[in-house]
Symmetry: C2
Subunit: 242 residues, 2 copies
Amino acid sequence: MSRVKFHDVVCVVKPNFGFWSAVGAFEQLREFIGYVQGLHHLPVILDWKSGDVGPSAEQYAEAIFGYFNADAVTVNPLLGQDTIAPFATYDEGSRGVIALCKMSNKTSGTFMGEGVVPAMSPALQPLLYQRIAAEAVGWNQQYGNVGLVVGATFPEELAEVRRIVGSATLILSPGIGRQKGDLDGTLGANDDGFLTINSSSGILHALPNADCIEDAAAAAGKAAEQLRDQIRSFHSAAGSPK
Amino acid sequence: MSRVKFHDVVCVVKPNFGFWSAVGAFEQLREFIGYVQGLHHLPVILDWKSGDVGPSAEQYAEAIFGYFNADAVTVNPLLGQDTIAPFATYDEGSRGVIALCKMSNKTSGTFMGEGVVPAMSPALQPLLYQRIAAEAVGWNQQYGNVGLVVGATFPEELAEVRRIVGSATLILSPGIGRQKGDLDGTLGANDDGFLTINSSSGILHALPNADCIEDAAAAAGKAAEQLRDQIRSFHSAAGSPK
């Protein structure tokens, strides 16, 4: 049986810092990032959701892009451009910054997705995720390397963000896989913009109770290949060259 | 000359994770936290500004409260209660969670401090920091261990947050020291609530070009003592027993 290799199918790897730090595996994370970049020539987004500012944010940029040498980072933009700038300007702007915009967790709507003036007509009020997207347009004019996270469970909001930021801005869309995001809905809403579909648990935990690591790896490769084929199939049906 | 000992003057120590991770000093941070807790019996707030949710946030809680064994953590609440719960419920709710509410960096007003419907009268619209404070009331009813960060450069907003959350909720107020926050304004606005005044650079960098570590330590101790005395002096003048 020919085995699907994970790295032949995916275009980027996004480790979440929480899972590595929980077991103190900092050196292992650093090695893993170098391994992915060096052996497989894949970029690494370090999913850190950094949300600090000023001199502290500069230190986080040094940690994430210097010490861990990630190619891009996820950032929590609550505190505004100060959270973005230290990452966007690091190493002459050669790394990527991906700001949380519309997330798929249950309570993200508390601040990001519902109107901030509940008594007003929804049609009159910009929602926080729309404001983040609008700010990102300015950040990108200034830096050129800022993307957004928009959960795959929200195709309507993805379409809205795509309208605000245009087709050239990277949108990272998690929620495909374990969170049952709507792949075709996401791809349709994206309108051929620069999109990265993100499946984490769906690939990593494709065979959660595997007896050996080889079986788990084979299942992960197969899950990644299936997702790639689903994306290709959508584009074939839509007549897109992608 | 009798030397002021830093740990005789301060009530809590708040290392910022960025500064330690930038140089890969994870093991040293862990040792430092144990040292502060063990030798000096001071609690440690690990300033991480964690902003993740779900299984990832649970891993961050394990990292911060398990691996690093911090007593409390700062959290970026943009994604709602899902960012709070894994920390607030960790170890039977024995640790503290301090959510960013009103910050002192320049661009924090972009989302947190300005009206989200600029065309509306400010009197009619709740601002995002007010919504965070209002949500925190509910989080505290549920968990009992959630505080808020309100920058010392905003006494009016501190008074507003204090009105919303009441006197028993911890407010951590950074910005005294290098950011020239108004100490008396902060203490006055706080209205005798549960407040922790935070000076980081003002104490740590009290003597930035010291020739030796002993001089730097002595200067830090003196700066901490001066700040404590200023706080005491305010309370004496105000006739408060604190």
